[in-house]
């Protein structure tokens, strides 16, 4: 098994999430997407769209208790990739979301002041962060500042003091337009089948040993991860992507691309429902991505 730090960082705030939900005109998926159809034979893996945008993608590992930033950032990345390759929206993929931006916004700007408490955040705060404040990205030039590597120090600082004010206008250009509360397996499956990833916050823990790609529930993790795929056989399950790099051992699902085989595992439907029953997990839709990037020409100055 690869070295990893089993850091978590989900700190539930029922009142905070309820306050956010009360601000939504259609807070649940059934209300926000009543026409979304569930096909109980259709397997969908949204990670393929992410890999189409970023073939070199590899899951990293959180360095502090910033799992909410990680789970939500990957959800946004996959949403952006689905916008490009599934929905064929006229935009381009702008790189990975900077986890520190979601984490910092969720802890400070969303709450309205510095946060000197310990690490951690919650789903409702991240939902408000990405919809109201937006996201920053690796590799983008922000008036001379470019983020290239994940930094636990940066996450710690931004989680305490917030995202620097000079960066907020850049983040505001790339918001998630809507989120909807997902409360059970069927709703999550419906969202994923339609190209909407689900960020999941729960107290459910798992064994670190995969069995034919499936995760076995055991213990307790106060953790945020994300659901990126749905499969129906051999047992209905959602693919839960962690933020501990290639952390799992055991027997992997070799049908998954290698980048997902050891950083994620299938969670059976009934366990998914218990995870989602905490009512702090959301499906994401509608990302304000980057303008299409185009070639200047095909032949240069040759003809």
């Amino acid at each position: 098994m690869a070295d990893f730090l089993p850091l978590t960082g989900y700190v539930p705030d029922r009142a905070g999430t309820d306050a956010f939900l009360s601000s939504l005109p259609r807070p649940t998926l059934s209300q926000a997407g009543p026409d979304l159809v569930l096909d109980e034979k259709k397997d969908v893996f949204l990670g393929s769209y992410l890999l189409a945008c970023d073939p070199a993608w590899k899951r990293g590992a959180q360095k502090i208790g910033s799992c909410v930033g990680w789970g939500w950032s990957l959800s946004v990345d996959i949403l952006a990739a689905c916008d490009v390759h599934l929905r064929h929206e006229a935009e381009s993929y702008g790189g990975r979301v900077l986890e520190a931006s979601v984490y910092g916004f969720s802890r400070v700007e969303v709450r309205g002041g510095r946060n000197t408490g310990g690490d951690g955040s919650y789903g409702g705060a991240a939902a408000k962060a990405v919809t109201k404040f937006g996201t920053l990205h690796y590799g983008q030039n922000y008036n001379g500042t470019t983020f290239t590597d994940n930094s636990g120090t940066r996450e710690k600082e931004w989680g305490r003091d917030g995202v620097p004010d000079v960066l907020e206008p850049f983040a505001a250009k790339h918001k998630v337009s809507s989120v909807a509360l997902v409360k059970d397996f069927e709703s999550a499956a419906r969202a994923i089948q339609n190209g909407y990833p689900v960020a999941v916050c729960s107290m459910r823990g798992f064994s670190m040993t995969l069995r034919d790609g499936y995760l076995s529930p055991t213990g307790q993790w106060s953790h945020c991860m994300m659901f990126a795929a749905i499969r129906w056989k051999p047992r209905p399950a959602l693919l839960c992507v962690n933020s501990w790099a290639d952390c799992y051992s055991g027997t992997y699902d070799l049908k998954l691309p290698p980048q997902f085989q050891r950083c994620a595992g299938w969670v059976e439907a009934n366990v998914c429902t218990t995870m989602l029953a905490g009512e702090d997990s959301f499906a994401l839709s509608g990302y304000a991505g980057f303008p299409p990037r185009t070639l200047t020409d095909w032949t240069g100055v040759t003809l």
């Binding site: 945008c53 381009s92 070639l295």
Partner: protein
């Protein structure tokens, strides 16, 4: 830089025989494209209407071999990752075969650049995106049709 160097080597290897000119058009085997493609490349045939046999041979050769290179399976290292690498290969191939070895100057055949740009722009698009197997197939079809048009058909 590494990718560009690989492309340069590939292109150099592909066109290594060009200095043995003159060659006749009878040495170049060009597939006849579909009727649809024949229509799309009419502008190339028109632009090259006054080209001589050697120029037509170079033209057909570079585009035919460009198609062969792109449609060939990738090796352990992906060369044509996104459309920028495909464009880079196209420019490099033309620059080596048409301009440097063939001695042709840009603009020598009015309308040629515009005709080729339209064909590739319409068939592949201008968006920077991942090169898919389908895109490689379309690129190869376009190249072969362009070669066919230049050799005096169309």
């Amino acid at each position: 830089m590494h990718g560009a160097a690989v492309l340069l080597l590939v292109a150099a290897a592909v066109f290594a025989r060009v200095p043995t000119l003159p060659i006749s058009t009878s040495q170049i085997t060009v597939e006849t494209p579909s009727v649809e493609w024949q229509g799309k490349v009419a502008g190339v045939a028109l632009a090259l209407a006054n080209a001589n046999a050697v120029e037509r041979a170079i033209w057909a050769s570079v585009w035919t071999k460009a198609a062969d290179v792109v449609i060939a399976p990738e090796g352990t290292e992906t060369i044509f990752s996104d459309t920028r690498s495909l464009r880079g290969f196209t420019v490099l191939s033309l620059d080596i075969a048409w301009r440097r070895l063939g001695g042709k100057t840009p603009g020598e055949y009015p309308g040629l650049r515009e005709a080729v740009e339209k064909i590739l722009g319409d068939s592949i698009g201008m968006e920077i995106q991942v090169v898919t197997p389908e895109m490689r197939r379309v690129y190869a079809d376009a190249c072969r049709a362009i070669a066919w048009a230049g050799i005096g058909r169309g």
